[in-house]
Every structure is written in C-alpha cells, then in structure tokens.
Amino acid sequence: MSDMESFRNETRSWLEANCPASMRLPEKEEDMIGGGTKQVFTNPDAKVWLEHMADKGWTAPAWPKEYGGGGLSQEEHGILQDEMMRIGARAPINGMGFSMIGPTLLDYGSEEQKKAHLPKIASGKIRWCQGYSEPAAGSDLASLQTRCEDRGDFFQINGQKIWTSGAQYADWIFTLVRTDPKASKHDGISFVLIDMNQPGVTVKPIRLISGNSPFCETFFDSARCEKNNLVGQLNRGWTVGKRLLQHERSSISGLAGGGRRGRYEALGRLPEIAKQYVGEADGRIAAPALREAVLINQMNQRAFGLTQRRSMEESHSGGTPTFATSMFKYFGSELGKERLELQLEAMGTQSLGWDKQSFDDLESSLTRTWLRSKAGTIAGGSSEIQLNIIAKRVLGLPD
C-alpha cells in the first residue's frame, strides 16, 4: 500500500470516529462557525468537531505544524478534502483568518508574527476581519486616508474603514493605513494588525438590501497598534495588501476550497428546481427560453470548473499558469449572479417573498441570497476592476 493509500485509510477512519453525525448534514449559512472570542455554539457538536480538527491541525491542513497547521502536502490535503466530502463533513471553521491573513502572514510575516497569530487562528480562538475600503476609496483602494502616526512606542490610528465584513464578531483587524501622507499614492501605505478589543475602535453594522448586516463601518479614534504588528516594511504595505487581495479573490471566485462544495448548494440544483417550478415536457424543462438560459449557465459553470482544475494542474506541473486570479473572480461572480437571476425566473413569484411565514425555507433564503449575490461583482475589486487588470496584466493592453 502506498503512503497515500494508507493516509487515505487513516483519514477515513479518523473522520468516521471524530466527526459528529450532525456535522455531516448540509450546513445553513447561519450555522457557519467563524471562531473567535464572541463565537456562540448553538450546537455543541460544532464545538467538539472544531476541537478535534484543531487538535489534528486540520483546520488549516496545509499550514506548517509549528504554527498550528496540519503540515499536509498538496496531495494529502486533496485526500482530506475528498474524504470530508465523502461523508458530507462541514468545514469545522471558516473565515478571513484562514483565507486571507493566514496565507499573507505565511508569505510576509516575521517569525514572531507567525508564532503569535497563526496558532490562534488555527485553533479558532481569534477571529479576524479586513480593514481595506474607505468611504471615499472604493475601487480606488490606494487613495485610502486612515492615518497611522508614529508615537515612539506605538502607532496611533485615526480614520474610518467601511465594508469590514464580520467586524462585529472579530477580535483583530488587518488593515491598510497611510503612514506617509507626503509620498505618492501607493508609496505611503503600511499593513498593520490591530487589536479590536480597545476603546479606540468602534464598530457599526451596515444594513444591506438583503436585510442582513454582514458588513460594518469601523472607526479608529486614536486607536493603538503595537509596533511589532507592522507586517512587511513601513510604507511598503501596498505590496502585502495586493498579495492578500489575490487570496481574497480566489476565495470569492470559489477557487479556494469552498468552490468544491458549491456555493449555492442550499438553493438546490438549478435544473431540478426549474423542472419543479415550471414543469417538464418530454424530459426537458418545460419553458424553452428558461431552459436555454439554464443550459448556458450550467455549461459555462462546468467549463469554468474545468478551467479552475486546469489552472491548478498547470501550476503543479511546473508550467507557468496562464491565468489571472482576476479572471476567476470576474467570471465566477458573474456566473453566480446569473444563476440566481435564473432561479428567480424559474420560481416566479415564489422567489420574491419577504415575510418568512408565507414562503418555504428555500424560497425565502433565495430572495436574500439573490440580493446578496449582487455584492459578488462589487466587493473584493469590482468586475470592472478585474477586467482592467486582465486587460493590462494578462493581455498587455496599454494604459
């Protein structure tokens, strides 16, 4: 038996033994675990499952063991994902600690920073959020104005961030701040980590059109940041920040692990839903124009999935990957938006309810997911920005 076969067998047995039954059921969005000091476990199994996985280092399977990860090779990581999928195991924990700041610290953090922050992410003790955008700096991120001044012993932060997702639940925030107001736009920016449990940090949730408040405004009023929480060099934060954005885009496009499970699983498979709500004729979705549109969407989705796989294979096989993360962010978010518009079309008036009494779970979660999906092509660099990047970086078109 090869090493990989035995790894698979061991993993399978361990999961069978350690993954509680309720953690193998499909997960609703509100049940997702983000960790941190404010996490409430409504289902005790979720806590058990997180602890078991954290003990193995499998909350962050590919991170080195010394930082609380699992130290798995890419191949082992794939096997773990396969085996989790086999039994329908939920991710024990999610969040920006894993998808964004963790990978960024692995690339750019000092040894001290990795030791200080990564294990707390992996164990689920500390939850992170992102402080990039500002009211006047949306797509034009680098025009940010939040000030960070050297006070000798520490940095003092003043300003406002917006679209800080989950800031109301987070313990720490990673953020881009202006450390040299006189330097040119991209040159006076630094990347710092700030503890949110201090009086100088205030968080105010923003209500969205979906009725939810996944984002906040975060205000810094003479907030304090220790100097050892500067990541990379002073005034060179733009480099670190851009790298992190790539992690974010991968995560939004579903290029990272999340994509494997399908982001809209809870809304059902689109073709089946369409058959159910508009009927079928001769084995086909009965409404021909809708069917054609569903086919285009589903076939694009399949081609997109193959392209994600090709991109991974190309980077494994040592060739230069010819793709831009921007392509996955752009195409993936547009596809997702289109899919939801089609589901609305298929479900007609049943997809447009607001009060939950008169509509079933699928129906009322669809309405809100549809509205939320509109952010997919705005947040994390809008579709327009991604197209600019592809045109410039990949195709080499002139400014």
């Binding site: 025009s143 969205l208 059109i209 447009l352 607001w354 809008s382």
Partner: protein, 376 residues
C-alpha cells in the same frame, strides 16, 4: 396612434410629478415598510389621490369617473413609478374597475364604479394559482346555486388582497386548468364566510395575498363560462398600465445612476469618464428610449380600441421587464458598495423591478404570446 402627449396629458403629468415627489417619495415606502403598515399604503395619501380624481381616471363620467383615458392614467402611473409610490391604483382602479367596466351589467356598473372612483371601494383580482402568470390556469371552481355562485379554491399573489373590500375571483364553471373556455368571474365580499386571507409581504415591500375560498358565495360578473373575454381585456389594461409604472421607475433609476456617474470620483476623476461605463450607460439610454415609445403606443392603442392591443401589451410588458431589470441591476452595480446598502434608495428599484417582472407575465410569457399572435 400619437406618440406624443397632448397638452391636457402633459398638464396631468406635471401635476402627478409634483404630487408624487411631495406626497409619496421613496421615504414614504421606507416608512410603510419599517412601521409594518397594516394596509401597505398610506390611507391619507390615498384620499388625496382620490380627490385628484385618480381612482376614476379611466372610469367614464357617467359612472362618476374622469373619463380621461388610459394615456392619462399611464402618465400618472409613470410618475408613481418614479417614486415607487404604494397605492391601490393598479389593483383597484386598473384591474378591479376594469373587470366591472368590461364585465359588469348596468346595475353593477352604476352601483360599484362610482364607489371605486370615490375611493371607498377597494378591489382585488384573484387570478394566479401557480408562481407563474397563467391567465387561463384557474382550477378554482365556481358552482351555480340559484342566482349566486359558490367559489372554492386557492389563489396566490393576489395584489392588495389583504385590504380589498371585494375580490373578483377567476374561477371555472367547466373545463380544466389551461382551457380558455369555461372561466367565470365571481365577485365576493372579502369578509364573506369561507374567505381566508393571508397577507404576504413581497421583496419590494408591497403586498399580495394567498387566499383560500371554501364555498364562498358571490355574484357573477359577465357571462358564465365566458370570463376569458373580459379577462383578456382587463389583463392587457393591467399590463400596459403596469408597464407605465415600470417606465417611471426605470427612468428614475437610470437618471439617478447617470447623476452618480457624474459626481462619484475614483482614481481622481468622475467614474462617468470611464469609457466602459459610458458605453453601458449609452446602451441603457437606447433601451430606455425604446421603452418610452412602446408604452406610449400601447396606451394610445387602449384609448383608440385598436386591434393590436394584445400584441402591443406583450411588446410593452416584455420590453419593460427586461429594461427595468437591466437598468436597476446596472444601477446597483454602478453605485458599487453603497448601492448594496439599505440606506441608499437605488436598491429599492431593483426589488420593485423583479416583482413587476413576475406580475401579469414575465418576458418569456409575453414573447411567446407575441410570437403566437404574429403567427410564429
């Protein structure tokens, strides 16, 4: 058929614009929503609208209305659409009054229409039984019992069903769901025995209702089994007037977006200077202009009882569905992050557009219908 407004219609439009801006801006919709208003519209404002004659614009003067015609009603609806004004205009003055006008006998017209025009009688048309518009889809049964009819069945998405005084039920006295023949319109009191109304709040904060009818006694409107003759006319009126409302909404949404493109700066310049956005804006402009033309033509056709009302109604509704969807989605996208916030009003147009789309027929429904009417 004229494609420009005459002087009277222009005056009415200006008056409606002022009224809607001052008395029912989008902040009113927000307030109704946040306070979970019992009616879903403001009764005080409705009284003012009635005073202006709007409840009876299309009702002939003989029955207490203004007799101002559909183009007149269309321009009022358009202005209401601009401010997303909530009122019983569509359900009561277009659909309900239309059923009585085109289906009722003289007694019914004499008794009911003046009360509609006077604003005291609110109506609803209980048509749909599935999530998709289906004019002949009723399975709800109408059984004759002496002079009256007993209605049994369940209806969905009855616009303003929770506050109507009378409900006109599209029921069936013969045949089966899908047959054009055998439909019978029965008018019942909403507080009659056997009526069970569940208000449903939609994504646009407007109201529809799921209604169960168990042997509810009501009166016949029109001829037994020939309900489709009335229904076809009334639905086309409704579609065209709803298209007028949508025209107002999409214009407002478009204009707000263009304005935002001029003032929002990124990378040191107004985002409206970016060519990719300019081209999309210009393409939307074309769609908006085409939408204005089809709505005007369809309204004129109603006023002139032209023979292509059905085609024009489908032409208008399909186009307005698509254009409102486009303009409101692009509106949110071009506003970026703040477009996603509840605080900003642009998202309200997107919600309204999708509910309108599924009211009285989606684009797929109307394109198919247009094709059939044209013989392909």
């Amino acid at each position: 058929m004229p494609l420009v407004l005459n002087e009277e219609q222009n005056m009415l439009k200006d008056a409606a614009k002022d009224f809607c801006r001052n008395n029912m801006p989008i902040t009113q919709l927000r307030k109704l929503r946040d306070e979970n208003s019992e009616a879903g519209f403001d009764r005080e404002t409705w009284s003012q609208m009635v005073e202006l004659g709007w409840a009876g614009i299309t009702i002939p003067e003989d029955f207490g209305g203004l007799g101002f015609g559909y183009t007149g009603m269309g321009v009022v609806m358009e202005e209401c659409g601009r401010t997303l004004a909530c009122s019983p205009l569509l359900a009561t003055a277009a659909l309900g009054a239309g059923c009585i006008l085109h289906g009722g006998n003289d007694d019914q017209k004499n008794e009911l229409l003046p009360r509609v025009a006077g604003g005291e009688l609110l109506l609803a048309l209980a048509l749909e039984e599935t999530p998709h518009h289906s004019p002949y889809g009723a399975a709800t049964v109408a059984e004759r019992s002496g002079d009256a009819y007993n209605v049994t069945g369940s209806k969905k998405f009855v616009l303003d069903g929770h506050i109507a005084n009378k409900i006109i039920v599209v029921a069936r006295s013969s045949g089966e769901a899908g047959d054009r023949e055998g439909l019978t319109l029965v008018m019942v009191d909403s507080d009659a025995d056997g009526v069970d109304i569940t208000r449903t709040i939609m994504a646009d904060s407007r109201n529809a209702a799921n209604i169960e009818f168990s042997k509810v006694q009501g009166e016949l409107l029109g001829e037994e089994g020939k309900g489709a003759d009335v229904l076809d006319q009334v639905l086309d009126i409704g579609r065209i007037l709803l298209s007028s409302e949508m025209l107002g909404g999409l214009q407002e949404c478009f204009e707000r977006t263009i304005e935002y493109l001029k003032v929002r700066e990124q990378f040191g310049v107004p985002i409206g200077s970016f060519q990719a956005l300019k081209h999309r804006a210009a393409q939307m402009f074309c769609e908006v202009e085409l939408s204005k033309s089809v709505v005007l033509e369809a309204l004129s056709a109603l006023d002139e009882s032209a023979d292509d009302i059905a085609e024009l109604s489908s032409l208008a509704k399909a186009r307005l569905n698509d254009t409102y969807n486009l303009v409101s989605s692009e509106g949110v996208q071009m506003h970026g992050g703040i477009g996603m916030t509840d605080e900003y009003e642009i998202g309200f147009f997107m919600k309204r557009s999708r509910v309108c789309e599924h009211t009285l027929g989606s684009s797929a429904f109307h394109r198919d219908r247009y094709g059939v009417l044209q013989g392909y």
